[in-house]
């Protein structure tokens, strides 16, 4: 049992949600939260091995040039720690093998699928099987969306949650699989922890704007079969206090924003299991 839960938030090369992601970790109960620039990881000033909870925040890694997360995934694969042969990816795979948690939000989710961390069938975390492509609308949008949690999903982060309301802020969020079999496997394994829903029916939807990108089956976030790796397009770290809610001046809301719950689940899991 971890007596001190340590979270690391990666930034640099265009990541831009690191501060609110770190704050979400703190509010979720993490005892130590460090924001580490990729350059500092590559210079060995921070090592993933020293942490339990890896956060890959949103942003525009490399400006989304070559496709969102594309150049960033390439960097993780090829960049070596200065003065050693160890690749950043080696640290990452060791981190996963140790049963630790990874959360990728928006650009972090894009980075995870492009590295092949998700969906992670058969514990394979280096082969790209799914991706996130351009919204059907062809444009970047900032918009709040209603989400439903699949309670049968193995996802550690969404345990005990049912419905969530977060903003999306992306241009490339439509979930696609390399083939039907992969898509079926994602669905059959209940990896789709989070779906866009129609607020009237509370059913998953592909209808714009409730589903902002045209993602099939309303897919907004998926986990790996262990439930410890989770990526989602909506931004939980953007809703940490009720004043972040777009209608806080007209609705009765608890002080704590709905985004904190995902991080608290992660911290609690680590405290109990690691």
């Amino acid at each position: 049992m971890a007596n001190k839960v340590k979270a690391i938030v990666i930034t640099g090369y265009g990541t831009n949600c690191e501060n609110e992601m770190a704050q979400a970790c703190r509010l979720g109960g993490a005892d130590q939260v460090d924001i580490a620039h990729v350059s500092e990881l590559l210079h060995g000033e921070y090592r993933l091995d020293d942490y339990h909870f890896l956060n890959l925040p949103g942003g525009f890694l490399d400006g989304d040039d070559l496709g969102a997360g594309q150049a960033g995934a390439h960097r993780f694969r090829h960049a070596a720690i200065v003065g050693s042969d160890e690749k950043l990816q080696d640290q990452l795979l060791r981190f996963i093998n140790d049963g630790k948690l990874i959360l990728g939000v928006c650009n972090g989710f894009q980075l995870m699928v492009k590295m092949g961390l998700l969906p992670g069938f058969d514990r394979c975390y280096t082969d790209r099987q799914v991706s996130l492509t351009y919204n059907d609308s062809g444009r970047f949008e900032d918009r709040w969306v209603n989400l439903a949690v699949d309670s049968a999903s193995p996802c550690v982060f969404t345990k005990g949650l049912t419905h969530l309301y977060y903003p999306i802020r992306h241009g490339e969020g439509k979930f696609v699989a390399r083939d039907d079999a992969t898509m079926q496997q994602v669905l059959a394994n209940r990896l789709v922890a989070l779906r866009y829903i129609d607020p009237a029916t509370l059913e998953p939807t592909t209808e714009y704007p409730y589903n902002p990108n045209g993602s099939p089956d309303g897919i907004a976030g998926i986990c790996d079969p262990s439930g410890r790796l989770f990526g989602l397009m909506p931004h939980p770290e953007a809703f940490l206090h009720r004043v972040n809610h777009p209608r806080w001046t007209r609705e009765e809301l608890p002080d704590e924003g709905q985004g904190v719950a995902l991080f608290r689940n992660a911290v609690d899991f680590i405290r109990t299991n690691l």
């Binding site: 640099g12 831009n16 802020r169 001046t249």
Partner: protein, 996 residues
Amino acid sequence: MLARIQVGLKPAFRDSFGETTASRIKNDLGLPVDSVRTIKVFTVEADITDDQLLAAAQGPYCDPVTQDYSLGPLALDWHYDFDWLIEVGFRPGVTDNEGRTAAQALELMLGRKLASHEAVYTSTQFLMCGSLSQEEAETIAKKALANELIQRFTIISHADFVKEGGLKPYAAKVVSETKAVVDEVDLDVSDEELLRISRDGVLALTLDEMTFIRSYLAQPEVVEQRRAHNLSTKVTDVELEALAQTWSEHCKHKIFSGNIEYHDLDAGTVEKVESLFDSYIRTPTAEIRKRMGDKDWCLSVFKDNAGVISFDNEWNVVFKVETHNSPSALDPYGGALTGIVGVNRDPFGTGMGAKLLCNTNMFCFATPFYDKEIPARLLHPKRIQEGVREGVEHGGNKSGIPTVNGSLYFDDRFAGKPLVFCGTVGIMPKEINGKPSHEKMALPGDLIVMTGGRIGKDGIHGATFSSEELNENSPATAVQIGDPITQKKMFDCLIKARDMGLYRCITDNGAGGLSSSVGEMAEFTGGFELHLDRAPLKYAGLQPWEIFLSEAQERMTLAVPPEKIDGFMALCRKMDVEATLLGTFTDSGKFHCLYDGKTVAFMDMDFVYKALPPMEMVAKWQQKSFAEPQLPAVPDLADELKKLLASLNICSKEYVVRQYDHEVQGISVVKPLTGVANDGPSDAAVVRPLFDSFAGLVISHGVCPRYSDIDTYHMTACAIDEAVRNAISVGGSLERMAGLDNFCWCDPIQSDKTPDGHYKLAQLVRANRALAHYAKAYGVPPISGKDSMKNDYMMEGTKISIPPTLLFSVMAKIDDVRKAVTMDAKRAGDVVYVLGTTYAELGASEYAVLHGGLGNAVPKVREADSLPRYRALEQAIKAGLVASCHDCSDGGLGVALAETAFSGNLGMDLDLRQAPRHDIHRDDVLLFSESQSRFVVTVPADKAAAFEAVMADTGLGRLGTVTAETILQATGLGGAPVLRADLAELKQAWQATLAF
């Protein structure tokens, strides 16, 4: 090798970029395109093997789940049956951000840096289906796909493409054989010749300025000093270009600092004004600060790149707004992108450097539905609008800075020059390493270091329309394209350097590049010695003066103490940021540049920065008179209201707002869109900068260019009032509210080109007088600002001048963001109030223009009435008495009521007879007059008495109640029902116009 990698979405996937391109061509050009698919082309020029090329194609350049790649023509691999293929790529030397990222990915894969002759270039192929002629395909290329100033295109038919097996690879490389040469210019020539030198060199130096330089160079001690550095009595091109830049209107603000003889022809008086800036901007701020005494919260005003005020006991906030008009006219995307990432560097380069908190923007365009002929060399207003929108989207979103506040204003006189105002707020700890963060100082002996991007010919003489055709291998110099990621990497690094105390002074490279950044910082020490040959270049072939003047983006200049240089350079290396040592700040009193060890510029600092005599100008004011609008005898008020809601200046701008990230950093409290369906128009933004405090910042602005047609004095008063009341609406406090003035004027100097220059200068004087008066009246000190004085279009005998425009931006404090108020009606049963008296002020209003006349009764600001109202409303909001608050601006009370109602999806039952008014006898005048300083407020019924007590004697009218029935209805001044409108219809009218 020179090879192409082509990547495209697999045919089974929707190509939404292609789809939107197709609908743009159909809608904007009316050409019959059935479909468009796109292919990205990476042209790789590098010493790599075929296997390495393939690995790049399969690895970083392609997503195997969604994309196909090919080393040949992908369109042929697909057997895609298009009619025309248009490939669009950048011209040599134009910033290609994706090409840079592609090159970095290749370097990572190869495990080595690319050599100077190696690079990756990107281009895009548009595969079009549709029965189009070659000529139509060319129209599409020119008007929809490429901007020929910065891009080149190739058009090929399907048959030719098949026959030739695709297009040949082409590297957009700058080819330049020039050797570094420093030219000397002889100024001992005739006046005509001096003017020719200025004109041909795009120097914009006047005859007086040219002769002033000549007499300086003739001074015996100057001659002697220069001779000691092997310089003759002629001026070098480095010196002449630097002087032209330093003394340009853009940098020196000669109009604002000159002497004006102001004739009021109506009053028959003549007055002298010595420096508009000192008289009407700097002095009022000084007086306001004096009045505040030891409570003065202004920290740094008008002396640094941005204004600084105190936020709380631990933090300062910084604000700057800039314009980027001419570049946005030439290349809307690149111009606007550079505008926003450029203004980001201002707060970052203020004091010891601020972390960037939020962006604002305000755009002025001609109507996107413009159907008259477009004058030569101008782009269609819709293309400008979309390009600017997208440039600011990419600049803001990719930098991770939320765009929290903004607006669009339309007037066809902006066809000649759009206005693109971009603003950035930053925050910094009050003290950094034990010293006040808002101060900076370079010391003699400090090293000059440049960080960030490299130098190219970008933006040399940038703000000038160049009449010269660009040829194939010459870099496009007129326009820069910003690179938000290179800048973000630099900021990530420099903020660490700041906290580690690794530099002493910092400023940005904007207009004038190194010549102004190094020059400005050297004023602290009294001199500098700069080695131009040491500057890192994007490509070979830049002349020394070009290196000095280049406006290449993403660069900061720093003063690093010698003992810190190793630590500074090590940090930059670690964080993958280029940093170069270029010279030393000195106390020699000399402006000294060298190239390869030889002196290429040597002048006295005082001559460059202080000696220029002020300009002498004449202004003549005479009130103009305009035809009154023809108001309908019996107006259908519901219909008139719908027409106003649908007008360009009032309608919803949601399509723009949604494409800007307004929530990154997790600080948003009042968002630009609000209400029951998250789509109502907020008056101002509220952000909460610190996670451990509920103190907030309110950001708002005011702008009303059309009022200038009647009187710029009242235009300015109304812009200030609008900014202030917007801030008050959401809960901002007058106790800590600072302003920024951004003037965009048409040329106000009398000449053959500008026969009405005297009048335009008088308009400027009047605007400044209003600024001084109302800033003092409200106690809102201007802390920073900028002017852009030449917003005219002149080509082939056509002249289009913008209406004189002042953007007044406001930053205010709100002690507790949980007290903030939004503009949407909240609950049925709440009481509806109007605050403030309505006057018959339809002059230059939306309603007047709708009815074909400008009129003359321009709205006036009556601060004796408005100030007590603002103070009382601030207290009422603080006490939690207010459910909603919305200011009355364009379209007046009627539009404010409608917006309040439909944003809450709640109706209103109103009696217009209860509205405080003066000399108004028509319901339409009451509803649509644009009198200032008014609000629509809704208050819970149980708080109405308390609210009325707080607001007593401030001009309050209890108009009626909020209803569950979604109908806006009102009894008129005559006692009969005059307005009944369905909210859904009103909202539909408001949303449909710009539903792009």
